[in-house]
């Protein structure tokens, strides 16, 4: 039985930003699970001494933050299942920027989003240089234009008025 989004109590680390990051995390967890299952099979009936593979920073942060014991088959299974659910069902916010957003910026943004909007929210990014500045935010059903271009367009009347005043004065 697959888990719902409400069943997921994991705290997402800031390094886990996009759905692609979650997908990579799922793959990595599956790899770790397969590795540890193999070690268990090789050990046979005896006591198993798990040798956990080197984890990526993302998985390491995730496991540390949520205090997950990867050597526990139950916790690994739960982690795999919930990460898959998270990958498929976690809400996503799409941000479009004028320049390529760096990782630090996205982590700050993701932190704020998960604190203020939704704790399992993921972030997707796009590039549109004509925005000049700011961002365009797309939620599942709406689009919010917080760009500099939109700011100028909204204030165009004021600019036209100023031009008109200059024209009248000239």
């Amino acid at each position: 039985m697959s888990a719902t989004l409400e069943d997921i109590t994991y705290v997402l680390p800031p390094t886990l930003i996009s759905r692609a990051d979650v997908a990579r995390l799922v793959l990595e967890v599956e790899y770790v699970d397969n590795e540890l299952e193999a070690q268990k099979a090789r050990a046979g009936e005896g006591e198993v001494h798990y040798n956990v593979p080197v984890l990526s920073h993302a998985l390491d942060d995730f496991v540390s933050l949520n205090q997950i014991d990867l050597t526990s088959p139950e916790q690994r299974g739960e982690l795999k299942q919930k990460l898959r659910t998270l990958k498929d069902k976690a809400p996503s916010l799409h941000f479009t920027f004028a320049v390529e957003a760096d990782q630090a910026f996205l982590q700050d943004l993701a932190k704020w989003v998960r604190e203020q909007i939704h704790k399992q929210a993921l972030i997707a990014t796009g590039l549109q240089p004509s925005l000049a500045g700011g961002t365009i935010l797309r939620t599942p059903n709406h689009q919010h234009d917080f760009s500099l271009r939109e700011l100028l367009v909204k204030n165009r009347e004021s600019l036209v008025h100023q031009l008109d005043s200059l024209h009248a004065a000239g």
């Binding site: 809400p91 916010l93 920027f97 004028a98 320049v99 957003a101 760096d102 630090a104 910026f105 700050d108 943004l109 704020w112 989003v113 203020q116 909007i117 939704h118 929210a121 240089p129 004509s130 925005l131 000049a132 500045g133 700011g134 961002t135 935010l137 939620t139 599942p140 059903n141 709406h142 919010h144 917080f146 500099l148 271009r149 100028l152 367009v153 165009r156 600019l159 036209v160 031009l163 008109d164 024209h167």
Partner: protein, 226 residues
């Protein structure tokens, strides 16, 4: 008196037949004797003389008679001429009088006819003139009304066109001014975007982005959880 003048009983005549040839009865004898006497009396010279005198007498008589006849004829001709002249004068006077009367009647009749005709013509002319005058007035009034209507329509059309033209000019002016201002605004926007687009640091924009998101936080949450 005999027409033969003088009678010569004793003069012999060569034309008397011989006694052997004469009849024997007394009457015959008397006749023969007379004849012999006549023959002896009327010899050729005498006869010629008689003829000459007879001729002269006859000519005189004829001449005289002709003279009388001529005189009678002259008188008759004169009288006849006077008579004819009188008759002709009378007839002419009568005929002239009749002619004058007829002429007068005809003249009167013609005059009356002319007067009647003239009056009728005058009446008809007056009626026609009145009709023409009335028609002319009607046409003039109609033309004046039509001219007024056309002038009013033309003035209205001109005013409408002027108003429409002025409105179009004003609209075009406003459109051009708006377009100019909009284009100028777009130019400025483009300039600003070009000038600052690459200069703005994304990290420095984060507080502003978070501020906007904070302002729309409720909407975003509702959209995320719906």
């Amino acid at each position: 008196m005999s027409v033969f003048g003088k009678h010569h009983k004793d003069e012999p005549t060569s034309d008397v037949p011989s006694e052997e040839l004469l009849p024997k009865t007394p009457m015959e004898q008397a006749s023969t004797a007379i004849q012999q006497e006549v023959a002896s009396a009327f010899d050729p010279a005498f006869r010629e003389d008689l003829k000459t005198r007879g001729r002269q007498k006859f000519d005189e008589l004829v001449e005289k008679t002709a003279m009388f006849l001529k005189q009678d004829l002259d008188v008759t001709v004169v009288e006849l001429g006077e008579h004819l002249k009188d008759q002709t004068d009378k007839l002419l006077d009568t005929e002239f009088a009749k002619y004058a009367e007829s002429m007068k009647k005809a003249q009167d009749s013609a005059l009356k006819t002319l007067e009647t005709t003239a009056k009728e013509i005058e009446t008809q002319g007056k009626v026609l003139l009145d009709e023409l005058h009335q028609e002319a007035q009607d046409r003039r009034a109609a033309y004046e009304q039509e001219a007024k209507d056309r002038a009013a329509a033309f003035a209205q059309e001109t005013a409408d066109r002027q108003a429409a033209l002025q409105q179009a000019i004003d609209a075009k002016k406003q459109e051009l001014a708006k377009s100019y201002e909009t284009n100028m605004a777009q130019v400025i926007e483009h300039y600003v975007l070009q000038a600052f687009g690459d200069q703005l640091d994304l990290k420095s924009q984060l507080p502003l982005i978070l501020k906007y998101m904070e302002e729309h936080k409720t909407e975003i949450i509702e959209d995320m959880t719906s």
